[in-house]
Symmetry: C2
Subunit: 349 residues, 2 copies
C-alpha cells in the first residue's frame, strides 16, 4: 500500500510539557487519513495534524455513524516501540462498524497506516512506565446527505495524543438504578460514539452527588452489574475475582480479557458470570468485598474506593495484596517489555 | 439579536430540478450557524451553504454529542410562509440536548435564525401541496479534545433542503424480535444522532428480506410495539385507533401528538396505551386490523401495507375510509393554510 506523506514543516513537540499532559488535549504532528468512496478505501495519506472540512450535511452529524478505538504505543529502554494486542482493536473496530452499517476498514489500511504514523511520531512516545502515545483510530460517515440511511462515504483516521500515567484521584461510583447505558439487542458492545454521549448526563448527576462514575446495570432489572462507564468492571469477593460475561450490552474490553487470562496464569480464582447488586452489597456488609476495579486502555486499572446504591454507601479498605495493583504491574511490565510475554500480546513496531 | 449575513454571489436555484428531488441531497443557498463558547451562544451568522472545518478530535466524532430536529416550511397560494408547531421542535431539541449533556440553544438564536434564514430562502419554498423546504436544525460538539466528557464548545446550525411529497412506495415492516432501538433509562426519547446509526444494520437485514422498515419493540420482552424506525406508529383495530404512550424509549413526535388531537376533534376513538404484538396479530387474523401507519415530519403519514413477526406475515387490505388518508389530508390542509387551524399550530413567518 502506498501512503502519501506530507510532513509538517516544524514540529511542535518542543512546545509540549510532557510532565503536565491533560489527557486527550495535545496531539502529535501528524495524522493518518484514508477515504472510503465508491465501495473501496482510497487515498491513504499522512498529513500534518490539522482541522479538515466536512459538509454540514455529513451523516456523522445527523445519524451518528461513528466508531473508534483506543490504543497505546509504548517505548522500552532500548527505544523500541510496542503495541499491545493491536489485532484485538482491529477486530473490534470492524465489529463496531458492522453494527452501525459502516464498511470495515481494510487490514492493510489499519496496520500500515498505524505503523507508518508511529515511525514518524517516534519522538512523541516517551520512555518510562506510564508514558505512552495514545492512539485514536476512528471511522466517520462523511457523505453529505440527510436521508436516514447508511452513508456511502467515510473517513478512517488515526490521531495521536501523548499521555502520562493516568490517575484521576480516588474513584467512587454510583450503581445505576434509573438510567441505562444500552439495551439488549442494541449497540452497547460496539465502541460507537453515541454510547458515550448517552452516559454524560447521568454521570454529571453522579458528579453532583460527589461520585466520579456510574456502574451500569442491565436496563430491564437494574440488578446485574455490567460496566463502569468507560471501563469494564471487576469485583473481588474474598480471594475470588468476578467479572460480568460479555453480552450485546457490554464492551469486549482488551484489558478485561487480558486480566482474565493473567488471573488464570497466576492461579487466581476468576469467575466470568453475572454479578448482582445484592451479592456485592451483602459481601460488602460482611467485609468480604475486598476490591472493585475498572479496566480499560486509558487507565489500565482504576481501583474503586467506594460505591453507593439506593440509600446505602460502602467504603472499601485498602488491601495489602491488592489484585488491582498486581494486575496493573503485570500488564505494564508486558506492555513496556519488562517481562516475559508468553501469550505474544506485545507487538514490536 | 444581530445576525451577521453574508450572501451567496450567485444562487444555485436555477440548477435544481424541483420535480425530481431526492430527499435530503439538495441544499439551499444559505445556512445559519451560531457558536457556543465560554458558556454562551455567540456569533450568529448566515453564510453560503458550504463545508466547514472541524478538529479531527472534535467530540462529535468520538463521543456522539449530536442532536437534531426535522421541520418543514410551507408556502400557501398567497406566497405566505408557514411553520407547523415550531415551539415543539424548539422544546424537543433542548430536551434532547439536556439528555446528552449539551447546552440548550437559546430561544432567540433558534427562532431568529430560523426566520431570517427562511426569508432569505423564500424562493426555495415551492407552492403546491406536498412541496416544502425541509429544515434541519442541529447541535454538535465541536471542541477538540478526546477526553470522554461533555464538550465545552458546540455549533448550532440550520440547513435547508427542498422536498417534494414523500412517497417511498408500499411499505412493509418486520416486528423486531432480537434487535432493539433503545433501553429504559436510555436516550430513545431524544432525537440523538446515535439512535439512528444504531437502526441502520437491523434495517439493512430487514431490507434483505424484502421489508422496508422495522417496528421496534421494548428491549426486555419484545412484546410491546413502540416506534417504526424514523416514525411513530398507529394501529387501527375496527374503528379504534391505538398508539403507544410516550416513555423514555419513544420519540415524542409532533405529527403523532397532532394526530391524537385531530382524532379527538373528529370523534375518532383514540387510545394511547401499550399495544402488544399478540393483540395486533390476533386482530389481523380475524380481519379486525384495518390499518397501520407511521407518522413523522418527513412523510407526514406513511401507510404500512403488511408486516411480519416470527413466521407469520400479514397483508392489510385497502380501506375505503382510511384513517391514514383522513389524517394526512387534515394535516396538510392545516400546514398549507387551506383550512381552519383551531389549535394555532400554523405559524406565519
Amino acid at each position: 500500500m502506498d501512503i502519501d506523506i506530507q510532513l509538517i514543516e516544524q514540529s511542535k513537540i518542543d512546545s509540549v510539557d510532557f510532565n503536565n499532559l491533560n489527557f486527550g488535549r495535545t496531539f502529535s504532528d501528524h495524522m493518518f487519513t484514508c477515504d472510503f468512496k465508491n465501495g473501496e478505501w482510497t487515498n491513504p495519506r499522512i498529513t500534518p495534524y490539522a482541522p479538515f472540512t466536512l459538509e454540514p450535511s455529513a451523516r456523522v452529524f445527523h445519524y451518528g455513524q461513528a466508531v473508534f478505538e483506543g490504543m497505546k504505543a509504548y517505548k522500552d529502554d532500548n527505544d523500541d516501540i510496542f503495541l499491545f494486542r493491536p489485532d484485538e482493536n482491529f477486530d473490534r473496530i470492524n465489529k463496531s462498524a458492522e453494527r452501525l452499517a459502516m464498511p470495515p476498514v481494510a487490514e492493510d489500511v489499519f496496520f500500515e497506516g498505524l505503523k507508518k504514523l508511529l515511525h514518524l511520531e517516534k519522538k512523541w512516545i516517551k520512555k518510562g512506565l506510564g508514558n505512552s502515545l495514545y492512539l485514536r483510530p476512528f471511522i466517520i460517515a462523511t457523505e453529505g446527505a440527510i436521508a436516514a440511511s447508511p452513508a456511502e462515504e467515510y473517513k478512517f483516521m488515526i490521531i495521536c495524543s501523548p499521555a502520562q500515567s493516568y490517575y484521576g484521584g480516588d474513584v467512587r461510583v454510583i450503581i445505576a438504578e434509573k438510567y441505562s447505558r444500552s439495551a439488549d439487542g442494541g449497540v452497547g458492545y460496539a465502541k460507537a460514539a453515541g454510547n458515550y454521549a448517552a452516559q454524560f448526563y447521568p454521570t454529571s448527576l453522579a458528579h453532583k452527588e460527589g461520585y466520579q462514575q456510574i456502574i451500569w446495570t442491565d436496563a430491564s432489572t437494574h440488578e446485574y452489574l455490567e460496566e463502569a462507564g468507560t471501563m469494564n468492571i471487576f469485583f473481588r469477593i474474598g480471594d475470588k475475582l468476578i467479572t460480568a460475561p460479555n453480552n450485546d450490552r457490554i464492551l469486549d474490553g482488551v484489558t478485561r480479557k487480558s486480566i482474565i487470562q493473567l488471573a488464570k496464569d497466576n492461579n487466581i480464582d476468576i469467575e466470568v458470570r453475572r454479578v448482582t447488586v445484592s451479592e456485592i452489597k451483602d459481601a460488602a456488609r460482611v467485609g468480604e468485598l475486598k476490591e472493585i476495579f475498572g479496566s480499560g486502555t486509558a487507565a489500565v486499572i482504576n481501583p474503586i474506593k467506594g460505591f453507593k446504591h439506593d440509600k446505602d454507601s460502602f467504603e472499601l479498605a485498602d488491601q495489602e495484596n491488592s489484585y488491582a495493583r498486581f494486575f496493573k504491574e503485570k500488564l505494564l511490565n508486558i506492555q513496556y517489555n519488562k517481562s516475559e510475554d508468553k501469550h505474544g500480546w506485545r507487538v514490536k513496531i
